[in-house]
Assembly symmetry: C3
Homo-oligomer: 232 residues x 3
């Protein structure tokens, strides 16, 4: 969950509820948004009342790396000192919370994206890696017959074409096509590297909505990435 | 043995005797001391008369890395040219000795350290790694009930607490507590990473004495690390 | 094949014929030459008419790294656009060819090298690694009894001595000895790291000819490295 959030922001406000944790954030350049939720069932044991925590994501990831494979990690909130208390094996680590006053929660825009494609993460990452040598933009397009990722450099080009039978799912009535920053798209998809597939919703010159599950289907990630408009 | 010595000095004087090798050195800042011995039984075959060799530790470690897992390494002294001759597989490597005239052998101070703790190296290293993100100092303390490693930063803190039952051995009648440079302590303990446990002797505002065996118990390492006095 | 070529040049002209591919190039400093051939039998399927391609070796190596272990790679020439089209899994990668007008094909000199030694690549690489810490030159010599690699620094020295019984083959009637740049020699031999043995032909103050097979014996590499004349 933290690795996914880290693709967009260094610090974030986590909303704690009785049945789980959620988070909504935009990156500093306002190009991408993340909307993430993790059910209490993702934890061995979970007990919480409604609250908000500002967390330094990078620091938290480093602290959790201390855990050995079978270590159980406990996280509690010391209300008096307003710190997180992490217990990993015999170590107690107290961590200051980050001020959340400046962190505005973005509204998820109401988008109608006509095409939907469910695609193998491995295929997509191979296409991204090929594109990274060629350009810093990619075009994503779907037709009723398949999905295409294209990247055009000055002399070289990359094309990943997956016909309908090579996709897990394809819903597309009319052709759609949008251009995106490869850097953002790459970070988002690579954060899903452990998941078998990702779902993308696409339109023409519209944002792409990327969705996948985390934590053994106990959590959901929704990314939204703004398109770049091709200059002629 | 060389990796242990390399935590404190780049060059060192090795004392060769008929029954083994020993070495005593302080680091350039005079904060830490090492007193190391290796019995002749650590070698497949050993034959020596009393002598002293100045050795460039870093270079020697690099040369020994040439050996493949089953290669036998032979080290002899070419008295005429005053060089070490290392044979590894079919390679003969001659290596100049380092001048030992400037290398004074430190005296091991006679310390009476009231507390003794034998502790799992893995636990200790996990505590060190946690502390490194928080401060460059650590406090080591023992009570009759257990051992504690603490590190305090401006906003964050780390505490590794091992009660008596989690320690291999604990001898402590009264509470003791000293502050140390984390950097030195970390290098010393990490050089023992392959050993199951290390022994520490502690006092209040006194040096810590760290002891562990090397080379399948054919060698012994004694480190001494000066305390830092907490400024109020 | 590309990793071998990359030891000497960044770009090269590949000669395509009906029965295979060949290449001849010298490094920018004109110290070393490569003469390489790869039979059509090295490919799952091969169809070509006579032609010449200028290829950016580094870029091509990067593109081929996209392939997963069982991916089949197809390379075709788009004559109209004068580009190479690489297909790896579902990815199509088009790659501009490099202008070959400046690339002169070197003539392979007619050398009579009296000594021949076939030697284990692993042994040779161990000797090279040992030498790299000592000097940037090595002497290669053979006698009717064996092969020797020597490297002399100011205070340290390395000697790898392989008697006839430790060599796969040795043909040598009179003693020969030449000095070479270690850097070039190292890169050449390391590019043969996957092959069991390499063949070297040697003379006195003459180039060394290094030969080994690649691609399951479907290809041959011939390197020629100029000697350095020892200054007295």
């Amino acid at each position: 969950m933290l690795n996914v959030v880290a693709t967009l922001v260094d610090e974030a406000k986590f909303n704690i509820k009785e049945d789980g944790i959620s988070l909504r954030a935009v990156d500093p350049a306002h190009v991408a948004m993340i909307d993430l939720s993790l059910k209490s069932s993702a934890f061995d044991s979970y007990k919480a009342t409604e609250s908000e925590f500002g967390i330094d994501i990078t620091k938290m990831i480093d602290v959790l790396k201390l855990a050995k494979p079978n270590d159980i990690i406990s996280i509690t909130h010391d209300e008096e000192k307003n710190k997180l208390i992490l217990k990993i094996a015999n170590i107690t680590r107290s961590m200051a919370l980050v001020d959340t006053t400046g962190m505005v929660e973005p509204k998820v825009p109401n988008l109608s994206l006509p095409a939907k494609v469910v695609i193998s993460t491995v295929e997509l990452i191979q296409g991204i890696r090929a594109s990274e040598a060629v350009s810093d933009h990619i075009t994503l397009s779907t037709t009723p017959d398949g999905f295409e990722l294209e990247s055009e450099g000055d002399t070289d080009a990359v094309n990943l074409k997956l016909t309908k039978d090579l996709l897990t799912e394809l819903k597309c009535k009319e052709n759609v096509k949008s251009l995106f920053s490869l850097d953002y798209f790459s970070n988002m998809i690579k954060s899903a590297a452990n998941e078998k597939t990702v779902t993308m919703n696409l339109g023409t010159d519209f944002p792409v909505k990327i969705e996948f599950n985390i934590a053994n289907d106990n959590g959901e990630v929704h990314y939204l990435l703004a398109p770049r408009i091709e200059s002629e």
